[in-house]
């Protein structure tokens, strides 16, 4: 990529960010703004998931575990110990990072189906733990969380801020030595290991970084909706999250956010067909996997390349 084109991309990013910053002034409908905030929240979750599984090649399903841990940690600290929600955000982030170490230390040593099953066991094990610790977590009823007490505008900008941080972290890790090591490992673990890369260390660093941001997002989510319950551990959540990544494009920077936008708004537009929504989402995921496994962003790029080639000839 030439210097000029990277410069052009930077300008596009700046304009995009400006457009996003202006959204609350254009969109005055509170409900629509709420949907955009939710798009951001799921965007943060799947961007960080994508960082570990799209770039890092670690296909784990512990993302919503870490999200829920972040949410529960800050909610419990506010509900049972009266700690301020601002501090709660960091408590959420650090607790999720701590748990990601506990989950990651054994899990990231294995690959494939073993990694899926191990994170699966952690996911449902922690869910059971949450239900047993009824005294703090409210069991299957969940906790009512005190909010920040700010307006929608605050939540919008905070979510946007977290989303930008997630994107910057993804881009930073991708461009750094860690990212190059991860991609090398994803493509050939043997070759990477034989050229002196310690896969485990870099995987763990990426996993914990993503978990920290995810944990903060979890606390934010609980504070924003003012409630958190064990349905956050459900299969539907995992499927929706995977759907966002698959539809947008695994291993692309903006794909997961586009997927988050599509699924969040789809869920709302088809509110009348509430019962059929999970079926449609599931079917779209399977069709995308079969016909466009690299997601919308990659397909879009392909079409762009084709048009360019045509214009040249």
């Amino acid at each position: 990529m030439s210097v000029r084109s990277t410069h052009r991309i930077k300008i596009i990013y700046a304009i995009l960010l400006g457009v996003f910053l202006l959204i609350p002034f254009v969109v005055t409908d509170d409900y629509l703004l709420h949907l955009i905030i939710m798009t951001f929240v799921w965007g943060i979750v799947v961007t960080n998931w994508n960082l570990t599984l799209g770039y890092g090649g670690m296909f784990h399903i512990a993302q919503f575990t870490l999200f829920a841990i972040g949410g529960y940690a800050s909610s419990i600290s506010a509900d049972s110990f009266g700690i301020s929600p601002w501090l709660g955000l960091f408590i959420g982030g650090f607790t999720a990072a701590l748990f990601s170490l506990v989950i990651g230390l054994p899990s990231l040593r294995v690959k494939g189906i073993y990694l899926i099953l191990l994170t699966f066991a952690f996911h449902f094990g922690i869910k059971e733990l949450v239900i047993i610790a009824r005294e703090y977590t409210g069991g299957s009823m969940g906790i009512v969380v005190p909010s920040f007490g700010f307006g929608t505008l605050f939540y919008f900008y905070f979510a946007l801020f977290l989303l930008v941080i997630s994107l910057v972290a993804t881009r930073f890790i991708e461009k750094s030595f860690i990212g190059k090591a991860l991609v090398a490992m994803r493509d050939s673990e043997v070759l990477a290991a034989s050229s002196g890369i310690n896969p485990y260390k870099y995987k763990l660093i990426t996993f914990v970084t993503a978990a920290f941001i995810t944990g903060i997002a979890g606390s934010f989510y609980a504070n924003y909706l003012m409630v958190i319950g064990p349905e956050i551990f459900s299969f539907t959540m995992i499927v929706n999250g995977l759907g966002m990544i698959v539809i947008g494009g695994m291993g692309t920077l903006f794909g997961p956010i586009i997927g988050s936008f599509i699924i969040t708004f789809f869920m709302e537009t088809f509110n009348a067909f509430e019962e059929y929504r999970p079926i449609i989402v599931g079917a779209v995921i399977i069709l995308m996997l079969i016909y466009a496994p690299n997601g919308i962003v990659t397909e879009f790029n392909k079409i762009k390349e084709k048009l360019k080639a045509k214009a040249r000839s």
Binding site: I113, L118, A121, F122, F124, F235, E275, I279, G282, L289
Partner: protein, 286 residues
């Protein structure tokens, strides 16, 4: 005490049926079907429909259930395994998980969220010394034994069974001697799903039949196949009884809510320290 042991044996028999299909699938296709729970639920629903609406006898309902679950298994293989087979095992996971939500929601639309109750084939209670058992529990034992025996006969005596075993031992070799591996994959998934369906039909009179009924048994089936060593039949059967025993013991001595947690803890420990399982051969690199 003996009633606890008896309960563990009954549970173990159902868990064997619920998990051995996964083990068979791993042996042949080298992947796991995460819509296995939806297959268990499917068996229970077909049984319920055939018994209540169809007015068929238990035998008729059972035969219809076996046919339908076989077709479901072939369908699962066709839509969510074959397109990704050999290319990307992660996509098999995403595909089968997506399919499982589609199936669960379909059950919800068709039958509603309220639990249905399947009448057991034989009603009544027997008193054997200090042991109180229902006829249905003996029915479970007999059906499980017969199913395992039939499966063993099919796998060792029929041509289809031999080709299934051949593919599980050597994929390339089977192609070379003229086995249609794609057909074997479909049939394997069909058989695995029948086993799940029978487990569902037997669970019907114990649990209420509702759209997510099969999910917990599926999760336990994963614990079992991991514990027994993925792909090992003997290991799976032994592990099914171990898991059932642990569940019953933890449930009655520590507390019912601790039983699932103890199973997940067991799964984590096994995967960390002995990923090939208690009885399996190491297949981590395969």
């Amino acid at each position: 005490m003996e009633s606890l042991l008896f309960r563990a044996i009954i549970l173990g028999a159902i868990y064997t049926l619920a998990s051995i299909g996964l083990s068979l699938q791993w042996g042949v296709l080298r992947n796991l079907n995460f819509s296995h729970g939806a297959s268990i639920t499917f068996g229970a629903y077909v049984m319920w429909v055939a018994l209540s609406a169809g007015g068929l006898g238990y035998t008729g309902a059972f035969i219809i259930m076996i046919l339908m679950t076989f077709l479901l298994g072939v369908f699962i293989e066709w839509i969510s395994i074959r397109p990704f087979f050999g290319k990307n095992e992660v996509n098999v996971f995403i595909g089968t998980v997506a399919l499982s939500t589609i199936l669960a929601q379909t059950y919800f639309i068709l039958f509603g969220g309220r639990g249905k109750y399947i009448d057991p084939a034989f009603d009544g209670i027997v008193q054997l010394g200090s042991l109180r058992a229902t006829y249905h529990e003996f029915f479970i034992l007999i059906v499980s034994l017969v199913t395992l025996l039939v499966m063993w006969l099919i796998l060792t005596k029929t041509k289809v069974g031999l080709s299934i075993r051949a593919v599980s031992q050597d994929q390339l070799g089977s192609v070379l001697i003229g086995i249609n591996t794609r057909r074997v994959y479909s049939i394997t998934m069909g058989v695995a799903t029948i086993l799940a369906g029978i487990a569902g039909a037997l669970l019907g009179p114990i649990l209420y039949v509702e759209p997510h009924m099969g999910e917990l048994p599926m999760v336990k089936a994963f614990v079992i196949v991991i514990l027994g060593g993925i792909g090992s039949f003997r290991g799976t059967i032994a592990a099914a009884f171990i898991v059932a025993l642990v569940e019953v013991m933890v449930g009655s001595f520590v507390g019912v809510e601790w039983a699932p947690l103890s199973l997940f803890l067991m799964m984590v420990l096994i995967l960390i320290f002995k990923p090939e399982g208690l009885f399996g051969v190491s297949e981590r690199k395969a």
